[in-house]
């Protein structure tokens, strides 16, 4: 068994991170998050005939709808190129001829990209958090903090998926196609299909299966973590009955999210490990 050398992993992670910092990726994405979050925080309730800040829970609920579309897309776009891009450009062989192991290489890539995504997320939503913090209590801020944390986890889960696609795909075009398909399926289609099935079966026969199926999608796990965990939101959405308490336990949801980060990476390594 080869000893794991974190130093080499960090050398690569640092390079990946600085690349994204230097080409302004981090600043651009942080800017996008800030602008969208501010707009949504203040105009998110415009449909209801009012604009302005209407409390932390309402704001988080509005932000969740934004994050659920935007963050997976950004994470997939960031990560799909990670391995296949180097392979296609021809720099992967040189990298693999270095004393780095394939596990260190894969994790180094992932960590560097995750750090770039993480800094953008924390900077973008953190800035908005500072603005929102004016006049709200500590519990509300803590809820916002956990929203930012879950956003990080959502990004890491989709980044992990992107790296898996990047290892599996034969070329960059295929990888980008697979990334878009993954976004389309998990973010747009999955809930629709579940809802359709629920209606078609009158919500009776498989009532206990549907909540479990939601856990198979990191975007849904993120939504449950943020929305259904809040008492008043559950009442508002009228879904308190659809989600059994056991499934809205934040520890369980956190563990599922962690699995969504670890499992695709492990699968990516399984493909990538043999020369």
């Amino acid at each position: 068994m080869r000893k794991f050398d974190p130093r080499l992993m960090l050398v690569l992670a640092r390079k990946e991170f600085w690349d994204r910092l230097r080409n302004k990726w981090v600043v651009a994405v942080a800017g996008i998050f800030t602008v969208f979050a501010l707009v949504i925080a203040y105009f998110g309730t415009a449909q209801g005939g009012a604009v302005g800040f209407h409390g932390m829970d309402v704001t988080i609920t509005s932000l969740v709808s934004l994050v659920i579309y935007l963050v997976p897309l950004i994470a997939l776009m960031l990560g799909y190129d990670a391995v296949v891009g180097e392979r296609e450009r021809g720099s992967l062989d040189l990298l693999l001829s270095q004393p780095i192991s394939r596990l260190e290489l894969l994790l180094g890539k992932y960590l560097g990209l995750a750090a770039a995504l993480g800094i953008s997320t924390v900077a973008g939503f953190g800035l908005v958090g500072v603005v929102l913090s004016y006049g709200v209590g500590l519990p509300a801020l803590a809820r916002y903090g956990s929203f930012v944390l879950s956003t990080l986890a959502l990004g890491c889960a989709f980044l992990s998926l992107a790296v898996l696609l990047s290892v599996k795909a034969a070329n960059r075009v295929t990888a980008s196609g697979m990334a878009i398909a993954a976004w389309f399926l998990l973010v747009l289609v999955y809930d629709l299909v579940l809802l359709g099935l629920m209606v078609a079966t009158s919500g009776q026969r498989y009532a206990e299966v549907f909540p479990a199926l939601l856990l198979l999608n990191p975007a849904d796990v993120f939504r449950i973590l943020n929305v259904y965990a809040m008492e008043e939101m559950r009442a508002l959405y009228g879904l308190a009955t659809a989600m059994p308490d056991a499934l809205s336990n934040p520890w369980l949801l956190g563990a599922v999210m962690l699995a969504w980060i670890v499992v695709p990476l492990a699968l990516a390594y399984r493909s990538f490990r043999t020369p």
């Binding site: 080869r2 690569l12 040189l94 270095q98 004393p99 780095i100 192991s101 020369p275």
Partner: protein, 314 residues
């Protein structure tokens, strides 16, 4: 026989239906400059990737500096290896200095040596420019600088002179010569046979994934029994036709030009005899030039020959 620094034994690699490398064995001793030649797609790059552990062989074994390249001590082996891939691809957004720094960190090499390497490869003036602004030759030189990080004991260079101008090529081989003097073992693949001809200590000729021949150029010439050409010229007032002198050498052909110079083509084994006969003649030539079969002749000779098996140590 000295122990091989590069030892390839019975290596086989298949891509689907294609047998890219088929039962190849050869060894390279320390301090040798060894050439890998063959047509495009013959399996040279695959063989180099196998030697570096970038690909795993389906059969056979490869050791570099006495260690299996995919074994538990792969890090130590790779720290002592330098690799320049064919059409080297570096990170466009990094500067030359940052590129070297990155690979120096990978190899745990003191980064203070990077400046000297850039100087040595005549890239110091462009050290702080992004690689995307480099010409092909500059990228190749930067790739070579990267391969030299950490004073490697073995260098694998895949088509190293592509993109270099004649001056750059000469400088490159001068550097290789210095490294060889320091005991570095170099394995390089090239299409440019004329460049390799007087520079390599040994050669392996790969054809359709098989080792067709291996040895020194002279050994390969002799194995093929390629004829030698001797150019002889006489003073204008002397009738120096060598017909009568060469009667004893069967298979000799003589081609006389209008200006009186003739080209004698004879077998390797007759070379010394023919030269002696010419010099001992009453009208000895005023000038003699011996033209050994070039590496290109050897290459083409083997291309025409039926495929065969051969293993060798150089």
């Amino acid at each position: 026989m000295k122990e091989s620094v590069i030892d390839v034994r019975g290596v086989r690699k298949r891509y689907g239906e294609v047998l890219a490398v088929d039962d190849v064995s050869f060894g390279v001793s320390a301090g040798r400059l060894y050439g890998l030649i063959g047509h495009n797609g013959a399996g040279k790059s695959t063989l180099i990737k196998l030697m570096l552990g970038l690909l795993a062989p389906d059969a056979g074994s490869i050791t570099i500096l006495g260690e299996p390249v995919l074994g538990p001590r792969f890090r130590e082996v790779r720290r002592r290896i330098g690799y320049l891939p064919e059409n080297v691809s570096l990170y466009d957004n990094l500067t030359g200095a940052e590129t070297l720094r990155f690979y120096a960190d990978m190899k745990a090499v003191d980064p203070r040596g990077c400046g000297a390497l850039l100087e040595r490869l005549q890239l110091a003036h462009a050290a702080h420019r992004p690689v995307r602004t480099y010409s092909k030759g500059m990228r190749q030189r930067l790739g070579f600088a990267q391969a030299l990080l950490g004073d490697p004991r073995v260098l694998f260079l895949d088509e190293p002179t592509s993109g270099l101008d004649p001056e750059g090529i000469r400088e490159f081989y001068r550097l290789l010569h210095d490294l060889k003097q320091q005991g570095v073992t170099v394995l390089l693949s090239s299409h440019n046979l004329a460049q390799l001809q007087d520079r390599v200590d040994g050669l392996a000729l790969i054809r359709s994934g098989r080792l067709q021949a291996a040895g020194t150029i002279q050994q390969l010439r002799e194995a093929l029994n390629l004829p030698v050409r001797i150019h002889a010229a006489w003073r204008p007032d002397v009738n120096g036709s060598p017909q009568s002198l060469l009667r004893g050498f069967g298979g000799c052909t003589i081609d006389t030009r209008e200006d009186g110079e003739c080209t004698i083509t004879c077998a390797q084994r007759d070379k010394v005899g023919v030269l002696s006969a010419l010099l001992a003649a009453e009208h000895a030539p005023r000038d003699l030039r011996v033209q050994e079969p070039s590496l290109e002749d050897v290459f083409l000779g083997y291309s025409a020959a039926p495929e065969q098996d051969d293993n060798a140590q150089v």
